[in-house]
Every structure is written in structure tokens, then in C-alpha cells.
């Protein structure tokens, strides 16, 4: 038990230290912007990882919840006069509620069927956002009011760096803690074998639903953070491609590895920025890198590196 506790604090400490030290090497606020994008994406990816890596259920429509969070902070203050912070909460609540209601029937599905059902959910959310242009500004999106905290207007890439870093730390902390709770153990049982879990007395449907709701809330909060950081939202953020991007982050980093999700997010956010130097070949290089890493690191980057190092020690 001691060592597990240690492991958790070491990860958190390493993450926090890195977050604190990175700004020292950043030459301009553009780097703060890229790093903030990593933190936000990582937050959504960690949530999805709890669902996919821990509880073993797939979701191909996760950007839908991201979109709900993003549009909550856009629509809330603009149309309903809701405070921006409250809108984050409302977005998370709505996402969780929707996940709860929709999750009940669709989480009874397995494998490909579940993938299709979640895909449909994501597409539906994106469609509603695109068509309800009176509320959402339609396909071109809408502006988001600046966040005001106690009379202080939050702006600037460096400020958002710290806010998103804080959010990610909290998100990581919760996700890591989950591992050692009965819920976390139930998720793992579900992941390994649903039948065995059921036999062992795990309330399969309840835990699946729980994982789905947790993942939705993570995505929603990440969506709200990105929307406020950008000062602008558009339906792409709720779109299918974004869902795929989130799944890619989780799988690339390593299913079930929380650190993996952060690494996966970092790779997918930073790489396109680095690869712009290749101009036309940018997408080719990105695709190639993903294919190669999936072939040689089938379990994802972090679990694979972990295994390599352990093997080296032996």
C-alpha cells in the first residue's frame, strides 16, 4: 500500500515540477499557448482513459461532451446571463446528466455496437450545435466572453497556462486516486472480463455508467477551459474528428495509463506544430509517426517504455 501511495505522489510531484519549470525555458507566450493546449487535451484524454483504459468501454463520440462544456461557457454568459464559472458547472452537470441518461441504454451494448452508438451520440450533439444557430452561432461558431474572477479579467496565454495546469493536476490526482478505490477495482474487473466481474458480484451496469459519466464530466470541463482560453467556440470541437483525436491520444499514450494520456496529448498537440517545417509533407509525417508508433509500441508509449526499462534492469 505504501509503495502505491508513493507512486501516486511521485507522478503528481513530477507533473507539478515539470509544469513549474517549463515556463523557465519558454521563449515566448506562444509556447504557453501550446502547453495550455496540451494540458486541456490531456484532461479530456484522462477522462476518456478512465472509460476506455480502466473500465474497458469505448466511446467514439466523446468530443460531444467536450462541445457541451465549450458551448456552456459560450451560451451561458451570452444568452442567459449566467456567470462564466457557474456555466462551467452547468456544462459539466449537463454532460454528466446526458451521459447518465444515454449511457443507461447504450452501455448495454458491447464492442462495435457500443462504438457505433457512442459515435451516433457524438454526431447528434455536433449536429444540434451546428443547426441551432440562434443559440450557438451555427457552423461558424460564436465568441466566448472573457472569464472574470473577482473583478479580474483572465487573459493572456501565461495565465491560462497556470489555470489549465491546475485543472490537469486536479484531474490527474482524481484519476490516480480512483485506482485504489472500490470503484477503480470494479472498473479493472470490468475491463478484464465483464462476465467474471458480474459473477464476482460487481454491479456491471452501474460501474459502466459511472465511468461514462466521469469521462463526460472530464471532457466537459476541458471543453469549457478551451473555450474560455480561445475566446471562441465552433462546432468542430464537438465533431467526429475531434473524438477520434481524443481516442488517438489515449491509445497512443497507452490504454489505462494516466501518464500515457498526458504524453499522448502532448504528442498530438506538439507534433503538428513541429512538423509545419515540412510544409506539404506535414500530414504525411504525422500519419507515418502514428502508424510506426502503433506498430512498435502496441500498448502505447508509456506502458511500452515502462516495459523496456524494467526489462533492461533485469
Amino acid at each position: 500500500m505504501m509503495t502505491r501511495l508513493n507512486r501516486r505522489s511521485v507522478i503528481l510531484l513530477a507533473l507539478a515540477t515539470m509544469m513549474a519549470l517549463l515556463p523557465l525555458v519558454f521563449p515566448s507566450s506562444y509556447y504557453f499557448r501550446v502547453a495550455s493546449l496540451v494540458w486541456v487535451s490531456a484532461l479530456a484524454a484522462i477522462g476518456l482513459n478512465i472509460l476506455m483504459g480502466k473500465a474497458g468501454q469505448v466511446s467514439l463520440g466523446h468530443a460531444g461532451f467536450f462541445g457541451i462544456g465549450a458551448y456552456a461557457v459560450a451560451i451561458g454568459p451570452a444568452h442567459l446571463g449566467v456567470n462564466a464559472l457557474a456555466a462551467v458547472g452547468i456544462g459539466a452537470l449537463l454532460s454528466g446528466l446526458l451521459a447518465f441518461l444515454v449511457g443507461r441504454p447504450i452501455l448495454r451494448l458491447k464492442g462495435h455496437y457500443l462504438a457505433i452508438a457512442t459515435l451516433g451520440l457524438g454526431v447528434l450533439i455536433a449536429m444540434v450545435i451546428t443547426t441551432e444557430s440562434r443559440w450557438t452561432g451555427g457552423p461558424d461558431g460564436m465568441p466566448v466572453a472573457k472569464l472574470v474572477l473577482f473583478g479580474w479579467r483572465v487573459s493572456g496565454s501565461d495565465t491560462w497556462y497556470w489555470i489549465t495546469a491546475g485543472l490537469l493536476l486536479i484531474g490527474t490526482w482524481i484519476a490516480l486516486n480512483l485506482d485504489d478505490t472500490p470503484t477503480g477495482r470494479a472498473f479493472r474487473a470490468l475491463h478484464d472480463s465483464e462476465t467474471a466481474a458480474r459473477v464476482a458480484g460487481v454491479a456491471v451496469n452501474r460501474f459502466k455508467l459511472q465511468a461514462f459519466v466521469i469521462a463526460a464530466v472530464y471532457a466537459s470541463v476541458a471543453g469549457s477551459a478551451l473555450a474560455m482560453m480561445n475566446g471562441f467556440v465552433n462546432p468542430d470541437q464537438a465533431g467526429f474528428l475531434h473524438s477520434v483525436e481524443l481516442v488517438t491520444m489515449v491509445v497512443l499514450g497507452g490504454l489505462g495509463s494516466i501518464v500515457g494520456s498526458i504524453v499522448g496529448a502532448a504528442v498530438l498537440v506538439v507534433l503538428p506544430q513541429v512538423l509545419t517545417v515540412f510544409q506539404e509533407y506535414e500530414h504525411f509525417m504525422l500519419g507515418l509517426l502514428i502508424i510506426v508508433s502503433m506498430i512498435f509500441m502496441r500498448d502505447g508509449m508509456v506502458p511500452m517504455l515502462a516495459r523496456l526499462i524494467t526489462r533492461g534492469r533485469r
Binding site: 507512486r7 515539470m18 461558431g141 496565454s157 504524453v263 509545419t276 515502462a306
Partner: protein, 393 residues
């Protein structure tokens, strides 16, 4: 195992830090005696038909300007990023242009979505930004540092309604796409219709990927008293609408398309069904058919020849927007005798009687587009080609 795991997690975190810091080393800025102009275009993805000709146009003309000695004896360095049509990426590249590349001005932003996402960045940094995107929201309300070159969808509606009014029609039907372009133009048309005494009796929509619009058109056909039909939309949707329109035998009712389909590929896609369709478009589309005394004739023919001989591809109005944007910016730098962003901004606003491919531009502190309805020409498809509609008919 768990002790090793600890080390591993730290190593993993370290790799990420290393990745980010090596990235900063890669993009070391090189300070030289050049003027840096930035651009973020949708060269790939669903909007690549906008970004690709824009990118080519910028490169051709920056090379030309540099070959001719540059601006104020300084060469221009163009930094272009591809946002793939993604507003979030565009926003990041906008930050990169300002913070990392330290550009003094920005031309580009292919779509309304990417432009709107980038506006706050340039406004905050006080760097002039000339967008190539369509919607009127970009310049209305006027933002100090934001300009644009293409006609707005509102102007397209006005041009169409002007023609409808001249033909003494009052009752029309509208069928629009639900994509960004269609939705935005639809809203503008609804807004300006009353000013022209036009009543939109029935309204239908279709999705950007729909492959048959017969149902919607049948409903319009069965509505009595419709004198004309307007179709705001772009991409292949309008071509399908046009085909269905002919199939349903509705061709006797005048049919108006928007500037969104003002390219040869629309006529190719719609085939014979396109005959008689009218649409507002920039002079570029009919450059060689313009009368010789037309002030725009020389500019559009020159641009068309340059673009087509260099790229071996047919010219499009979208590349023309990039030509206009770059030319307005360079002229402003010339007048300002400086590349100071604030002085350049003031001079862009002072643009007077600039003859571009999109029209004759005269900007002011309250008008950051500077085009009037004369910038649009009403065209009709005849014999598989565009012809100018004589005013009043």
C-alpha cells in the same frame, strides 16, 4: 516493480519536457533586414479549395515584389501556416505568428470560422489583419485592426434582390445549405429582403452532404405565386439543387445562385441544368468579357494570366481575394514608408480607389471592406459559360 515504475513515470514526463524544449530550439528566429508578413490558410481539409489558390497567389506575388526590390528596399518574408480548416489550430498559429515569428502584418484566414477565432489574437497584439473570408461579422462591428477583401454575403443578397426588384418580382422562395456559408447568407438575405420589397414566401434547407433536394424543391414548386427562387450555398449542394430544379421542370421560374458557386466547376457539375441560372460574382470570372473601358479589366486580366501561366490551373475568385489583400497591404506599407504595424494599419484604412480583382476598394474608419454593390456583376449561364446580364433586365 513499483519503484521502477516511479522512475519510469518521471522519465516519461522528462521526455515530454524535452520534446517541448527541443521544439523551441528548432524555431529559432533569424533576425534579418526583411519585413515579415504572416498568413494562416486552410490549404488542406474541406476548405482547401479556398486556401490552396490563396497560398499560391501569395507566393507568386511575394516573389514578384521581392524580385522588383521589395518594399522600401527591404525584402518581404512570407510565413504561411496551414490550419486544415480547424479554428483551434488557426488560433494557435496566429499566436505563433505574433509571438514567435514576430510578423508585422497578417493576410489570410480562409474561412469565417478560422478568421473569427484569430481576430482576438491580432486585436490584442495590435497587428493589422486582412482576412480573405466572406461573412460580414468580420468587419461588422468594425474592429480597429481587422480588414477583409471579399464581398460579404449581405452584398450578394442585395445584388440578387436588386436584380429581382428590377424584374418586378416580389414573391420568392429560398432554399439554403445548412453549412457555414449557406446559414450565414440565409440570415443576411432574410434581413435585407424587406428593403427591396421582396417577400420570402417559403423557405427550405438542405444539409451540406445531401445528394437529393427534390423533396424541398417540390414543396417550393407547389407553393403558388413564387416568382423566383434563391439558393444561398456553396460546394456541390447548389449544383445538385440546380439539377433537381431542371428535373422538376421548374426552369421557367428564374433561379438565382450565390457567389459561393462562382466557378467553372459549378457549370461542369450542373451541366445543361445550369442554363439560365443567374448569380452575382466578381469581375474576375468574366475578365475577358468586360468592356475595354472597365476600370477593373486590366487588373483582372493581368492576375488571371499571371496565375494561370505560373500554376497551370484555372483562376478562382478566392486567389483573387489574396491578391487584393496582399496588394492593399503592400501599398499601405509603401505609403506609410514604414513597416510599423500601427502606421500600416492607419494606411490600410486610408486605402482609396484601389482597383483589385474583387472591385474598387475605398476604406474608411467605419468601413473596413470598402466595396460597394458595383463590385458584384450579375452573371447568367449561357451555352455553358458566363455572360454579363445587362443592367435592368
Amino acid at each position: 516493480m513499483s519503484r521502477r515504475m516511479q522512475v519510469l513515470r518521471i522519465v516519461a514526463a522528462g521526455t515530454m519536457a524535452a520534446a517541448i524544449s527541443s521544439f523551441s530550439a528548432m524555431t529559432a528566429a533569424w533576425a534579418a533586414d526583411t519585413i515579415k508578413i504572416g498568413s494562416v490558410l486552410s490549404m488542406t481539409g474541406p476548405a482547401s479549395f479556398l486556401g490552396d489558390p490563396e497560398d499560391k497567389t501569395l507566393k507568386i506575388y511575394v516573389d514578384k515584389i521581392n524580385a522588383a526590390g521589395g518594399v522600401d528596399g527591404k525584402k518581404i518574408e512570407l510565413v504561411v501556416y496551414d490550419d486544415g480548416g480547424d479554428a483551434n489550430k488557426a488560433r494557435t498559429f496566429a499566436t505563433r505568428l505574433i509571438e514567435d515569428d514576430k510578423v508585422v502584418a497578417m493576410v489570410g484566414g480562409s474561412t469565417t470560422g478560422t478568421t473569427m477565432a484569430m481576430i482576438p489574437v491580432f486585436e490584442e497584439a495590435q497587428i493589422p489583419f486582412i482576412s480573405f473570408a466572406g461573412a460580414v461579422e468580420i468587419i461588422d462591428p468594425v474592429r480597429k485592426f481587422v480588414f477583409k477583401t471579399p464581398h460579404t454575403d449581405k452584398m450578394a443578397c442585395e445584388k440578387i434582390f436588386e436584380n429581382i426588384k428590377q424584374r418586378n418580382f416580389t414573391k420568392i422562395a429560398m432554399i439554403s445549405g445548412t453549412d457555414g456559408f449557406g446559414a450565414s447568407m440565409r440570415a443576411q438575405c432574410v434581413k435585407v429582403a424587406p428593403a427591396y420589397g421582396v417577400q420570402i414566401v417559403v423557405e427550405e434547407t438542405y444539409g451540406p452532404r445531401d445528394s437529393d433536394m427534390t423533396a424541398q424543391l417540390t414543396k417550393i414548386k407547389n407553393t403558388p405565386g413564387i416568382q423566383a427562387v434563391v439558393n444561398p450555398g456553396f460546394g456541390q449542394g447548389p449544383a445538385i439543387v440546380t439539377r433537381n430544379y431542371a428535373q422538376l421542370g421548374m426552369s421557367s421560374t428564374p433561379f438565382y445562385q450565390s457567389h459561393g458557386v462562382a466557378s467553372k466547376s459549378f457549370i461542369d457539375l450542373a451541366g445543361a441544368a445550369a442554363e439560365g441560372v443567374r448569380l452575382p460574382a466578381a469581375a474576375l470570372l468574366v475578365g475577358d468579357k468586360l468592356p475595354d473601358n472597365d476600370p477593373q479589366k486590366k487588373v483582372v486580366v493581368d492576375y488571371k494570366t499571371t496565375y494561370e501561366t505560373t500554376t497551370k490551373q484555372p483562376v478562382s475568385t478566392f486567389g483573387g481575394h489574396a491578391y487584393d489583400g496582399l496588394s492593399i497591404l503592400i501599398a499601405a506599407m509603401d505609403r506609410a514608408n514604414s513597416s510599423d504595424p500601427k502606421k500600416v494599419r492607419d494606411e490600410i484604412e486610408n486605402t482609396k480607389e484601389f482597383v483589385g480583382t474583387g472591385g474598387i476598394v475605398t476604406m474608411s474608419p467605419t468601413d473596413h471592406l470598402g466595396l460597394d454593390l458595383s463590385a458584384f456583376r450579375m452573371l447568367e449561364v449561357k451555352g455553358g459559360d458566363w455572360v454579363l446580364v445587362q443592367p435592368g433586365s
